[in-house]
Symmetry: C2
């Protein structure tokens, strides 16, 4: 079976690495002109004229990023199975549609309003109570098109800086930490949930994910499973779905979802019985889902901008290196290191040790070390 | 770094799958006209005219099978680093040279003699005491070019059936079981040893490997490590080396070595901290070696000839499927399943369960079940 992947970055690369042992082959379709998967076949098509060529070569279609035109996915769906469904893309590309769906399914979110000019943005900031964050409805990616308002008076400046005709305004949440849940749904409707991860961001980029999230009350995992299951079933979703949440003293609040394998699930390569990548390939191919149990405790450390001292990392007996074979550039995700341990205490020690060899790796601040 | 692999079968495929996360790329050189790696780039060259092309594309050279002309490896070595060294190939291609080296290094073997006609074969059978096995000195592979003599009178017929100008005659060993040790040596001379595996063959083909080998006395592992270390250092070897042995009531006896990753080490993909494939890539690339510790208990089951009920195997929460994407053919290795467990009792149960879905999978006879 040949799987067509829309997008050709590191997520596609890792999907392929997990899919070869299931006898799958891969064709990537790249619209950026800058593919980096470096495996399988890649059709580079910035002009968008070779979609038919792509389609003729593949049995199933999936994607590794959600910022592709919904029309493209819908057109493809007329000819070959496309998983996840284009509607999932549509929802994820529009923060208003996403938050509306969360509300309809009873998934709690921070309070939000929509604004379509500086005046309504100011009114929303007043009504919600500052600080608030304003985000463009569409095309948001890694912190772009966002502004924080510390008072309603900053509305005019924020509106100009965002430069988008419609924004969503969200009240700040006093959260204990950021977490995520990754789930997978098969063609037969079967669903499996990975243990949640605790995520640490720095300058808008994910830096660390610890899984299973330390000190997590069972009812929090159960709540998250309920929320993501509602999304999966509502969308008749096939494949891996990620839901990013805030953990507050009153429970979880959903931030956003991603209709794909996710950086906060990279720990699953060695840290779970079946990786998120293999499970996505299984689901998209119509196979049964794999076991999502954790194998011990994991921390994923992103390698950002510079590679650091790779040879020293290779010497660490508890570290697994995953490079994406990309050139160095500030803020670019170049790879990740999965650190394994049997206790959180040991995990923290190992992560700190490993991070010493990664330049620009921020302090390891997790609920673990905050307590210690 | 681009690694050139001589041979393009499933071992090369798994080397590549392990090497991509270390930012390696792969070019395979296939002389058979029938490559199956299905990943990276493959130069198919049955005429042997494109070796220069291969060489110009790669930074280092390794191989995935030992039946390639030593001259080819030696020629390549003049231009690019070749690991393991051609001398390792030379030794492995000649049973007499191999057994002689074992003897020089103090590695015990079954008693053996050389014969170069039916009369000397008969004399050897008489002198060693039947039963003996006669094997062609070169080109032996998976049981071909071999004959068992139950009495010296069978010498003429055996000689005809082998059809080779020189054979090695070995006395049968009364062994408890077949085992193997896999070790890896880095460019800096650092050496690491995997826990030994217990191997079950059927019709000359490996069927099951359990690792760490159950009920193994520590001094047996230590003996095996001493033997393989002597070989690695003598050959100034870089990469993964496999030594197959018989375990007898008097200790270990070496059977043969393979200068490459080995079927009895496929369990390391999920069953060890670093797989044999990753460690070979690390060594060949000049990186530090990875941790060879086991993660729990593993059994590797080969999928031979027919695929069986793959969907049922994918349902098993403790099984990891590795398909080679090859067509079915009697006796052909099509893939393997790694079964994990925390106790040998559980492992046996799981392996038996899994084997039910693999047609032609022989009874699971190990020292474990023999005792149970």
């Amino acid at each position: 079976m040949k799987i067509g992947v829309l997008g050709a970055g590191q997520l596609g690369r890792m999907l392929a690495l997990a899919g070869y042992p299931l006898a799958k082959d891969f064709v990537f379709y790249d619209m950026s002109g800058n593919p980096s998967a470096g495996i399988g076949e890649t059709i580079v098509d910035p002009e968008g004229t070779r979609l038919g060529d792509f389609l003729s070569q593949v049995d199933r279609v999936t994607y590794e990023f959600e910022h592709l035109p919904v029309e493209v996915a819908s057109e493809l769906e007329k000819h070959k199975p496309v998983h996840p469904c284009p509607r999932a893309l549509e929802v994820c590309q529009n923060r208003e549609a996403e938050k509306t769906l969360f509300g309809q399914l009873g998934i709690p979110t921070p309070k939000w309003q929509v604004a379509d000019n500086a005046a309504t943005l100011k009114a929303a900031a007043k009504s919600l109570g500052c600080p608030v964050v304003a985000k463009s409805i569409t095309e948001g990616y890694d912190g772009k098109g966002q502004a924080v308002l510390r008072s309603p008076e900053e509305a005019e400046q924020a509106w100009q800086s965002i430069g988008h005709p419609r924004v969503i305004v969200e009240k700040f949440v006093d959260f204990r930490r950021e977490v995520s849940i990754i789930a997978v749904r098969g063609e037969d409707g079967d669903v499996a949930f990975y243990p949640m991860a605790e995520n640490t961001h720095h300058e808008g980029i994910l830096r660390y994910s610890i899984a299973p999230a330390p000190d997590l009350q069972p009812h929090i995992q159960a709540d998250a499973e309920g929320y993501i299951k509602a999304l999966l079933n509502e969308l008749n979703y096939v494949g891996v779905l990620t839901l990013e949440l805030f953990e507050t003293k009153d429970g979880l609040m959903a931030n956003e979802m991603a209709p794909r394998v996710h950086n906060s699930g990279h720990w699953t390569i060695e840290g779970a019985m079946t990786s998120q990548f293999e499970n996505h390939v299984r689901a998209v191919s119509g196979h049964p889902l794999g076991n999502v149990s954790a194998r011990g405790l994991s921390c994923m450390i992103n390698i950002i901008g510079e590679h650091g001292d790779i040879e020293r990392i290779l010497e660490l007996p508890y570290a697994h290196l995953h490079l994406y074979n990309k050139g160095e550039r500030p803020g670019r995700k170049l790879g990740h290191v999965n650190v394994l341990a049997d206790s959180y205490e040991e995990l923290v020690w190992r992560v700190k040790n490993c991070a010493e060899f990664l330049p620009g790796c921020p302090d390891f601040i997790s609920s673990l070390t905050a307590k210690g």
